[in-house]
């Protein structure tokens, strides 16, 4: 889990979620009668992430791995998992490539992939008439995740008669966006689209509000932890999310209540995803009575349904190990209507809509082919 760097802030939420899940599981008798022994490390960068993952398996005897937010680090951990034949649940990485050309039999993907985020926001934008015939400029994170997201965005633009008139690749250590914002304004787009990640989204949104451009800013990636850090009146536009603490269903409400009581703040989407992932793993081990990789993979590949605190149940798709679930576009709550500083977002209708198959917003086999070696 990244605990430092541009993804560190949301990584710290993830840690709280997994800790709470482990404590709850242990309090109710553990897994197969044994308590969970949770090891956690700062993954830092792709090279360190893989070294630490290897050490956890080799020296510390880890039975399985899970975590990570960075797509670049997740990719190296996936390779460690395959080499050691241990299961890895990649909880926060969103790059399509991890589910496609880089996929492997030992790796499972819990967060929604880039294509789904583009579809979630894209659907909402289309309803507002902000796509057809419009000119877009994108600002994209210059690493595997951003490249991948830009690709999904380009596919969406060309399928919906929008033109991309400018795209800027931005290194992950940039904190001042003013020169890029001047270029955006020179391009005079209809809509500006943010394909950044982590606290860079926070920075961009703050500085975008500073310049006060007339072009709406939307984005294909945002984590609520980064939204909370933006400050009053800075965020606007339409964005995607995988889960939010105001979702209205009993399981979600109980989780939010317990978490808030324990930590004094509501769970961010990474706290949620780590929590449900460990719960799914515990369920799998208890039902298969095994920690063997083959048994666990078979259990998840049966497309077992899990309650993940959403109105529809979720399952790992057998051919690419993607957790198929609902996603949500959101807009920003007007200042006067916020109950507290975390109550920032107005969730749109879940996508796909109630009538459609859950898989309809996910990439198909032909769009993102995955060949797992047996």
């Amino acid at each position: 889990m990244p605990l430092t760097g541009f993804l560190g802030a949301i990584g710290s939420y993830a840690q709280l979620g997994v800790k709470m899940a482990a404590e709850e599981i242990n309090a109710s008798g553990g897994i197969l009668g044994k308590p969970i022994d949770l090891m956690s490390e700062d993954s830092v960068n792709p090279a360190t992430a893989s070294t630490k993952a290897q050490r956890m398996i080799e020296q510390d005897g880890a039975v399985l791995l899970f975590g990570e937010i960075s797509s670049a680090s997740s990719l190296t951990i996936m390779q460690v998992a395959e080499r050691n034949k241990k299961v890895f649940f990649s909880t926060g990485a969103r790059s399509d490539a991890l589910r496609g050309k880089d996929c492997n039999r030992y790796s499972f993907h819990c967060d929604i992939p880039n294509t789904v985020m583009v579809n979630a926001v894209g659907t909402a934008l289309k309803q507002k008439g902000m796509v057809k015939g419009k000119k877009f400029v994108t600002l994209t994170a210059d690493y595997i995740f951003g490249h991948d997201l830009l690709k999904a965005a380009k596919a969406f633009f060309s399928a919906n008669d929008a033109t991309l008139i400018g795209d800027e690749l931005i290194a992950t250590d940039v904190t001042d966006f003013s020169p890029y914002l001047l270029k955006v304004r020179q391009a005079k787009p209809d809509v500006v689209c943010c394909n950044l990640a982590g606290n860079q989204v926070t920075n961009l949104v703050k500085q975008y509000a500073e310049f006060g451009f007339p072009y709406p800013l939307v984005g294909f990636n945002l984590n609520t932890g980064d939204a909370w850090a933006m400050g009053e009146g800075n965020l606007s536009g339409t964005w995607p999310t995988v889960w939010y603490h105001t979702l209205d269903n009993p399981a979600s409400k109980t989780f939010v209540e317990t978490f808030t009581k324990k930590y004094g703040k509501p769970p961010e989407n990474h706290a949620w995803i780590e929590y449900i992932t460990l719960k799914m793993i515990a369920q799998a081990i208890n039902e298969t009575k095994s920690t063997e990789s083959d048994a666990l993979i078979a259990y998840f590949e049966k497309q077992t349904q899990f309650d993940i605190m959403k109105s529809r149940k979720a399952y790992f798709r057998s051919w690419d190990h993607q957790l198929v679930q609902e996603a949500y576009p959101f807009t920003v709550k007007p200042k006067g209507e916020m109950k507290d500083k975390w109550d920032m977002l107005v969730l749109g209708e879940a996508v796909p809509g109630a009538g459609a198959e859950l898989e309809s917003i996910y990439p198909t086999k032909t769009q993102n082919p995955c060949n797992m070696k047996a």
């Binding site: 949301i10 690749l169 890029y180 020179q186 606290n199 703050k206 509000a209 500073e210 980064d226 850090a229």
Partner: protein
């Protein structure tokens, strides 16, 4: 048209340079007078940002940008009196270690007090948006920063060049032994220089909190650029640091305009080129005690 866009980037670069200057000038002064490379300088910048966000909640933005640097400058007294003072004559590696350690301690302390997730801050309503001069566009808030930097700069220049305090400090940079021989103690001056230096860093933090992310590691992010500015400008030179800071801001802006991918690397290339031609930095003076 193209020229207008470039001009926007240049002016924007100057503002960014001004902000780097707030951090780098203190770093340079503390090194020039005390011979200490203050790796904890970024920590004071971060503290300045956090304290100002905290004060803004109760007293508003105006009070915050005044009180936060003052509070940090007072912390600077403790820093100088109880830590730096022991290392003026010691092996430089020791002061590097102790200030590096302090930077880490401060970062963790911020994590404990305010938490690891970034805290939110926003620009006051009246400074939002851009100013147009014909087709020329500028962020209103950055204009405010530019004015503040200019005022601070004039203040520091007057302090160093037009007061007896400044004369002692400048003499202390070149010949501390002569200053001592004249019966003047440099230590109280050093306390004041450290207060001034960390106070300016905190001022930078306070003004940048609303437009950048306020998180525990923000100090570590700014310190690298500040060092680059000090190295390019050269030690002991007030104008060297000023020119270097503005140059770094402008070079970054122009590079991003033409070759965005090279934007972050451009300032290091600039440093490399300057050091090739002038190893002592643009306007660096020969300082005997460091030779």
């Amino acid at each position: 048209m193209q020229f207008g866009f470039l001009l926007e980037q240049v002016v924007n670069g100057l503002v960014l340079g001004g902000y780097y200057l707030l951090i780098a000038l203190g770093l340079s002064l503390i090194f020039s007078v005390g011979g200490i490379v203050n790796l904890a300088h970024g920590a004071f910048y971060a503290l300045g940002a956090y304290i100002s966000v905290e004060i803004t909640r109760y007293l508003g933005f105006g009070s915050a940008v005044v009180l936060s640097p003052v509070a940090v400058a007072l912390l600077g007294i403790l820093f100088e009196r109880f830590i730096l003072r022991r290392f003026y004559d010691a092996d430089p590696i020791l002061s590097l270690l102790v200030t590096f350690g302090l930077a880490m301690v401060t970062e963790q302390a911020i994590r404990i007090i305010w938490g690891a997730p970034p805290i939110s801050a926003a620009i006051p309503q009246e400074f939002r948006g851009s100013v147009f001069l014909g087709d020329f566009l500028f962020s209103r808030y950055r204009l405010l920063i530019l004015a503040v930097v200019a005022a601070v700069l004039i203040g520091v220049w007057l302090l160093l060049h037009k007061t007896s305090f400044g004369r002692v400090v400048r003499a202390g940079i070149q010949r501390p032994d002569m200053v001592a021989a004249l019966g003047i103690r440099l230590q109280p001056h050093m306390t004041a220089i450290v207060m001034l230096g960390v106070g300016m860093a905190a001022l930078g933090g306070a003004f940048f909190a609303p437009i950048t992310i306020v998180h525990p590691a923000m100090g570590a992010e700014i310190i690298t650029v500040a060092f680059v500015v000090v190295v390019i400008g050269g030690l002991g030179s007030f104008w060297g640091v000023v020119i270097a800071a503005l140059l770094v801001g402008v070079v970054r802006g122009i590079t991003i305009h033409f070759a965005p991918a090279a934007g972050e690397a451009s300032i290091y290339v600039l440093m490399f080129l300057v050091l090739m031609v002038r190893p002592r930095g643009l306007l660096g003076e020969r300082i005997e005690k460091f030779e």
